[in-house]
């Protein structure tokens, strides 16, 4: 009985618990509620994925109103996989969050922060699960507004400017998305994605649809920070509370890449998007520029969070690069990297959050020699870094492998070489950090220090989630069959749906 209503519960559970948080106010209690609803969402997402894998696509009409009158939720292999990623990341981040939030956010705002966290999750789940184009816009706004609030929740005043900048650009992006959807509605007379996909064929050569395509694509690309539309991203990730950086980097960009995939492949169709509009070339150039500008900028950062933010821009480049290859393997590599990069970046941002928790700084000059004081956190950072580089036995290797296979399938060996060059740049920026945290000595080292001061690891409530996700990085790098299988099914589904 309840299993029929899982699609709507996916959105309703976090949405209902968010106002309850405002009423409860006591921050440990609120944390418990949020924790519970995140894990509940994760369980729902797992069950949904299972249903899709066994029974195929699920179509759910909200309130019993059949489409096109009502809003319908459609769950297929692609979005159930993305749901699994975002709810999984949200659950692990919230489990980790309590101590970190308590430290970084002033006490009177903690319950509001958790509310925003849940609303953000609601928005993301809604964007992914819905089968209605206008509904996507609504949920995009819910997710975006809550993320501006979360970014500015910290004590760092620079976060305000970063959030404001994100607000301006994010609103521009959302408006573009709305204009795109509006134009499509004008021409097709429907907002249901499946209907729209059927009807858009007849009108696709009109100037209105061409404009809709352009507005929509640019709007979504701003939202996930594709080079050169990434201007808002580095500062937002850097000055946001650590927990927010971990959450956003693992989920938000993934969701908007999903939106791009959904519109390009399901609505417009690969043929229109890539053969008529030649979007593949634009995406490819932008992706390659993203990989290199992001990686090179990352090398020159002294702030680890900023370095990871620039690295995210590069990693988004890899995902888009896979899309721009327009092949099953390329798409598979992109979808695979949605999953893998979520694991990698969340792990890295979470271990950086541990550093901040102990040292009140994420600047390299303040973290000299922390490897001795926080061996477990540092080890986690190193493994996460190796995964980011793409060392075998980690998830990063698997994504890189398929991306290169996809490039070589087209005989584009130069692209394969460029992808690998990007990995080598990752070695440089990751190792810069590793050298500092392991080999440079702190000033404290020159003075005699007691054993207790020397060893100040993060609390277990933070360490355990970090190591769970690090373990996931290794597990899905060694035993990747399950994830690659799902990604491949999703890629075949997208390519077949053209």
């Amino acid at each position: 009985m309840i299993s029929q209503h899982l699609p709507v519960l996916q959105v309703v559970v976090p949405l209902l618990f968010a106002p309850i948080c405002v009423l409860l106010r006591r921050h440990n209690l609120v944390w418990g509620v949020v924790l519970l609803s995140c894990w509940a969402s994760f369980v729902i997402a797992t069950l949904l994925l299972q249903q899709v894998l066994t029974g195929g696509e699920i179509i759910y009409a909200i309130g019993g109103w059949e489409a096109p009158w009502g809003i319908e939720y459609r769950v297929d292999i692609l979005n159930s996989f993305v749901l699994l990623i975002i709810t999984g990341i949200a659950s692990i981040v919230i489990t980790f969050a309590r101590e970190s939030v308590h430290k970084e956010i002033s006490e009177d705002r903690i319950y509001l922060f958790y509310t925003a966290f849940l609303l953000h999750l609601t928005g993301l789940c809604g964007v992914v699960i819905t089968g209605d184009a206008f509904n996507i816009f609504v949920f995009v706004e819910i997710a975006s507004l809550s993320s501006y609030a979360m970014i500015s929740a910290g004590r760092d005043r620079r976060a305000l400017l970063a959030a404001f900048r994100y607000l301006i650009l994010g609103t521009v992006g959302a408006t573009f998305i709305l204009i795109g959807i509006g134009l499509m509605y004008v021409m097709t007379g429907t907002l249901n994605i499946a209907d729209m996909a059927d009807r858009i064929r007849d009108v696709q050569d009109t100037r209105t649809i061409v404009s809709a395509f352009a507005f929509f694509t640019v709007g979504v690309c701003i939202k996930f920070g594709l080079f050169p539309l990434h201007y808002w991203l580095p500062n937002a990730y850097t000055y946001a509370p650590s927990i927010v950086s971990a959450f956003l980097s693992g989920t938000t960009s993934k969701v908007f890449i999903y939106v791009l995939l959904r519109f390009l492949f399901t609505i417009f169709g690969a043929e229109y998007a890539f053969d008529t509009m030649h979007l593949d070339i634009i995406l490819m150039v932008a992706a390659l520029l993203a990989i290199f500008s992001g990686s090179i900028a990352a090398i020159y950062q002294d702030n680890i969070k900023k370095m990871l933010a620039y690295s995210s821009i590069a990693q988004i480049g890899y995902m888009v690069l896979g899309i721009s290859l327009v092949s099953v393997t390329g798409l598979m590599a992109s979808i695979l990297h949605l999953f893998n990069h979520a694991l990698i970046k969340t792990a890295l941002f979470m271990s950086v959050a541990c550093f901040f928790f102990r040292f009140d700084s994420v600047s390299l000059k303040d973290l000299k020699g922390v490897g001795r004081q926080m061996p477990w956190t540092t080890m986690a950072f190193v493994i996460g870094g190796l995964s980011l580089i793409g060392i075998p036995m980690t998830v990063g290797f698997i994504s890189k492998w398929y991306l290169i296979v996809a490039a070589l399938e087209k005989d584009w060996w130069w692209m394969a070489a460029l992808i690998l060059l990007g990995s080598i740049l990752a070695v440089v920026y990751i190792w810069k950090v590793i050298e500092v945290i392991y080999f440079q000595s702190t000033e404290a080292d020159s003075q005699p220090v007691t054993e207790a001061v020397k060893f100040q690891e993060a609390p277990l409530s933070m360490l355990i989630p970090v190591w769970v996700i690090i373990f996931a990085n290794i597990y899905f790098g060694v035993n990747a069959s399950w994830v690659t299988d799902i990604s491949q099914q999703a890629a075949v589904y997208l390519m077949g749906g053209q």
Binding site: I389, P392, F439
Partner: protein, 485 residues
Amino acid sequence: MLIEAAILIPAIGAVLIALTGRQPNLREAITLVSAVSMFIVVCQIYLALETGDALAIEILEVVPGLSLAFAVEPLGMLFALVASFLWIVTSIYSIGYMRGHHEQNQTRFYVCFALALSSVMGLTFSANMFTLFIFYELITLVTYPLVTHSGTDEAKRSGRVYLGVLLGTSIGLQLLAIIWTWTITGTLDFTEGGILAGKTTDIVIAILFALYVFGIGKAALMPFHRWLPAAMVAPTPVSALLHAVAVVKAGVFTVLKVTVYIFGIDLLATTGSSEWLIYVASATILIASIIAMSKDNLKARLAYSTVSQLAYIVLGAMLASTMGIIGSGMHIAMHAFGKITLFFCAGAIMVASHKTEISQMRGLGRTMPFTMMAFLIGSMSIIGLPPTGGMWSKWFLVMGTLEAEYYIPLLVLLISSLLNVAYLLPIAVRGFFSEPDDMSPENRAQGIKEAPLPCLIAIAITSLGCIALFFYPEPVYELMKSIVN
């Protein structure tokens, strides 16, 4: 079971070493016990191979078509035997050296050392290129803390070169070649006769082969050799076992594996893809020998000598002839014994008399006669003089050049032997026959002052090994012969 045991024993050893770090005696006992038990296991695998019972195991399939799998074949067997035997010897040596030299962080040293050996075992028994690549990268990562052991600025700089070259070449070139091979053939299994024959054009084969040979940075083929001299900043046991045996031999071993089991020597011989690389290897041999002559620091000289000797092995592989492959494989074993002896001696000299420069070593044979004698034997093996094992591998390499009818490499081998004489023999000769620089009376009266006993035992074993391999090269030869037949 045996293969897993060989890989897991040093890994478990590493965990135990980390746990017993506070009690040095127990810690070093564990190192020795794991070294000995690993060697016994490897010998068991060898006996199984001799009886024709080829072991193979698939651990798991990472993604469809790519599996983590192990299989025993003669070339890997030879390397595993050499590495596991020399680990015992090096462990004995380390105990004397690390204590005598009062090194810091000894627990980390032993842990990383054991992990490095575990990765080497994984590499030697890999059944496909994917598995091999995993362990290849692991070796780089676990030896990095050993290179930067002292934590000084120089060590950090060297660590950067070490990691930059090894990771850069393996990710940038080797991985590209591996994935390319996979897209062409759909398999990465090591197969007799190679997997690429008839699958693609000659040009692609030539490009792929170059990507592999240069991508295997651990083989130290010029211009990717800089990491090896840089790695000499590590403690001497590391230079001895890892940067004369395990790590560098992992590189040339991979080159041989790729040559024999991915491409197949017939394919290389018919397409001529490896021809120009013969001259790269020849140039590396000569240039590295000449640089070695100019180095006054003993470890630096030995490092460049290693670069040149590794190029012998690569050269043998590039000849794509039966004798060349046999010579290359044998040289893995022969050079291992010779070079490890030389490094042990260099370390012993450093511990006993605190000398690192060759110019300070005149007359050292008076105070350290035993060490200098061993140094002489090691030098002779590197040069390829009887009665040492080095003679045999050189013999087969020369035969290989004749068989493949390349005369320039033949000439290079001869000139290089002369260069070896010029940069190695004077050290021992001056040690015995020159007067020490410092002739003050108390220095004369000092008498014999050798390194700690464990160091001497280790030196004795390896230098006797050099001689033993001259009289009994049979097992090594047989193993290599079974590859090419």
